[in-house]
């Protein structure tokens, strides 16, 4: 049962129980959650920084900026948006950063090593391709694109990249909690797979106010069916990707439904409520729904097995056992939370320091710990690559690009979510939207997931 050791990101049970002496002692005293210990106060912190730029400063771009601002290894060197008001608004989160409406000025700056592409989905392709071409370590948000052709082009560029990292913004793939859960689930702790369900419920318009019609259209690209892949594509993409990951397979078919439940008065074309049945190998079905019309129970994913179910919410998870399930042992001591008539056994990895530590005075809590972990992984990986492929190395290998690429391949860690995961998640996102909009069942053949 060493499957966790194979985790490409290096998370494993040792991390989960790191500093376990304290945890064990406290469980003996009366039962608490299993919680990874925070690093010792005197632990040395590596202060190496890397210059990073964020392109696309909508709500998510600003979330990225705010998160980067709390990462010690991030030096936000530049921010970019074609809309001046967005630039100004974002600048408060990155006071020292250069502001530019033209992403090409960022790509031309040799000091900037990392680029985060957070533009509207349909505008990723050109920027991501040029960023990689310019040798920038590139983090491209997911879904990669709104068409399979564009997603393929981006993924192939990521695959072909010789000296630049390519990480896709499927941030759940970086979450220590989920890295703990994958082998836990795959090891059979839930019994036989029964089904899965996931939801994203909010009551909000998804519309952003704008001073002029032209800007209004650009800003509300998610509501424009000519470029948007809708709720299941833009949001569901991340949750369905976890189904692929946890259930060790790719969907074979998607049946979708969609309707306008509430926001039909503003002329939008993209449905505000989407439901889908996503079929996985072995007849396991992920039942997914997303709506902008009701917020009940928020966002979660549940994986059901014959012995237990696991519910994942944000970066937390609980195990709900059947009465006839075998005793695992440790759950006797674990923290319990009550959900109506059910008792959830807390499965808490929380290995990231950001999650565990209360904010210092004057510091606000990281609002998105999973995004934080994903960006941290990306930037640390980039720093390690830049240390090895520094100016001296690049000079030494300037006549030997293949040699440099070989060294790059050895020093880079596998991206938390790489080009292939990004491509596959995007294919599913696009097809799920097609199924939802048409109300049909769409089969997904294995070759659709191949990148050639």
């Amino acid at each position: 049962m060493n499957e966790n050791e194979n985790d490409p990101l290096g998370y494993n049970r040792r991390d989960f129980l790191k500093g376990g002496s304290v945890a064990t002692l406290m469980t003996m005293l009366g039962g608490v959650e299993l919680l990874a210990q925070a690093p010792a106060a005197d632990a040395k912190v590596d202060d190496t920084k890397v210059k990073v730029a964020v392109i696309g400063l909508g709500a998510w771009g600003r979330e990225i900026l705010n998160t980067l601002g709390r990462l010690p290894m991030a030096e936000i060197a530049a921010i970019c948006d074609t809309y001046p008001a967005s630039l100004r608004r974002a600048a408060t989160a990155a006071p020292g950063a250069a502001q530019t409406p033209d992403y090409k000025t960022i790509l031309a700056n040799n000091d900037i090593k990392c680029v985060i592409v957070a533009t509207p989905t349909h505008l990723h392709k050109e920027i991501a391709l040029e960023s990689l071409k310019a040798g920038k370590h590139t983090y491209c948000e997911a879904p990669l694109a709104n068409t399979i052709e564009d997603a393929r082009a981006i993924a192939l560029a990521g695959k072909a990249s010789k000296v630049a990292l390519f990480q896709v913004g499927l941030q759940g793939r970086s979450d220590p909690q989920r890295h703990f859960l994958v082998p836990f689930i795959r090891s059979g702790a839930l019994g036989r797979s029964v089904m899965a369900r996931a939801q994203w419920h909010k009551k909000q318009s998804w519309r952003t106010a704008s001073p002029n019609p032209e800007r209004e259209k650009a800003l509300n690209w998610r509501l424009d069916k000519s470029v948007s892949i809708g709720l299941i594509g833009e949001v569901g993409c991340h949750q369905i990707d976890q189904g692929n990951w946890f259930l060790s397979g790719m969907p074979t078919a998607i049946t979708g439904f969609s309707r306008m439940s509430l926001w039909d008065s503003d002329g939008r074309e993209v449905p505000d409520t989407v439901q889908a049945m996503i079929e996985y190998p072995g007849h396991v079905i992920l039942d997914y729904d997303a709506t902008l019309a009701n917020s009940f129970d928020g966002t979660y994913e549940i994986f059901y097995g014959s012995d237990a179910a696991v519910m994942v919410r944000d970066n937390k998870a609980w195990l709900f056992k059947e009465v006839d399930a075998p005793l695992l042992g440790w759950e006797v001591y674990a923290r319990k939370d009550t959900f109506y008539k059910e008792t959830g056994i807390a499965l808490v990895a929380n290995a990231s320091k950001s999650v565990q530590q209360a904010p210092k005075p004057g510091e606000t809590q990281i609002t998105n710990p999973i995004l934080s972990t994903a960006l941290e992984y990306f930037l640390k990986n980039a720093i390690n690559v830049e240390i090895a492929l520094n100016a001296e190395t690049r000079e030494a290998f300037k006549d030997d690009p293949d040699g440099l690429a070989e060294i790059f391949s050895k020093v880079q860690k596998r991206p938390a979510a790489g080009y292939l995961e990004g491509y596959q998640a995007t294919v599913i996102a696009i097809k799920a939207n097609e199924a939802a909009v048409s109300g049909k069942r769409i089969e997904l053949k294995p070759d659709m997931y191949e990148l050639s």
Partner: protein, 244 residues
């Protein structure tokens, strides 16, 4: 599951302690360490007209291995930069006929400390924490590179055939964490196709010789010896594109 997790935790706890002890050094207090300065830059030497320059290429590897009673550890870097300049009596092609004896040679190899990564025995990444301990141990901030400077090379054994290496005795200065010691070790030189050579060697060093101080955490017994092994691929640079 519970048992497994507990076992893992125990192993980890001891391991962390032992690694800390190991990295901070424990064991005999050798006084063999000598100079504390990095090697001096080479003195101005006559133009190396008769020397052939080989520059570092990809395919290299440097590995440090240590032990403890609980868990062996290892770190590795795929990057050794630097050069070698060798006289005519050096085997640059497979099967080249050369005579045992002194070979005019100089060279320098550098390894960026932060390119070292802790790995499992099977090569998988181990942990960032371990990496950081290694960097701290080597005083990365003040001494970001491990530097080896070759001062002498003697050919001892000529290759028996094209698939066998040539065996040399080497002498040089090795600077780690700001301490320079003279080291001697046998190295093997394997000429490869395409004007490349692979230089391999192994030497066991004592941490205390590099003033890596003992720790005050001793949970497991750790060794002072660290085995250094390297494979260094060098090659003559391709001629620059013809100028018009």
């Amino acid at each position: 599951m519970g048992l497994l997790m507990k076992t893992k935790f125990n192993a980890r706890g001891i391991l962390i302690g032992s690694i800390a002890a190991l990295l901070l050094g424990c064991g005999d207090q050798s006084t063999k360490s000598v100079a504390v300065a990095a090697p001096a830059p080479p003195a101005a030497e006559p133009a190396s007209g008769s020397l052939t320059r080989l520059d570092a290429r990809s395919g290299s590897k440097m590995r440090l291995e240590g032990t403890s009673t609980v868990h062996d550890w290892q770190v590795e870097s795929p990057l050794i930069l630097g050069y070698l300049e060798v006289g005519p009596n050096f085997p640059l092609e497979p099967g080249k006929s050369v005579t045992p004896g002194n070979v005019p040679a100089k060279g320098e190899a550098t390894i960026t400390v932060k390119s070292l990564r802790s790995i499992e025995k099977d090569g998988k990444a181990y942990s960032d924490t371990m990496d950081q301990k290694i960097y701290d141990m080597m005083s990365y901030t003040n001494h970001p590179k491990i530097v080896y400077r070759l001062t002498g090379l003697v050919l001892k054994e000529v290759a028996k055939d094209k698939n066998e290496p040539y065996v040399f005795d080497s002498k040089g200065e090795l600077a780690i964490a700001g301490v320079t010691n003279t080291v001697s070790m046998p190295v093997k030189v394997m000429p490869l196709e395409g004007g490349k050579v692979k230089v391999t060697g192994t030497i066991t060093l004592k941490m205390t010789d590099y003033k890596i101080e003992p720790a005050n955490i001793v949970i497991a017994k750790t060794g002072n010896d660290v085995k250094v092994s390297f494979e260094w691929v060098l090659g003559q640079k391709k001629p620059a594109a013809a100028t018009k």
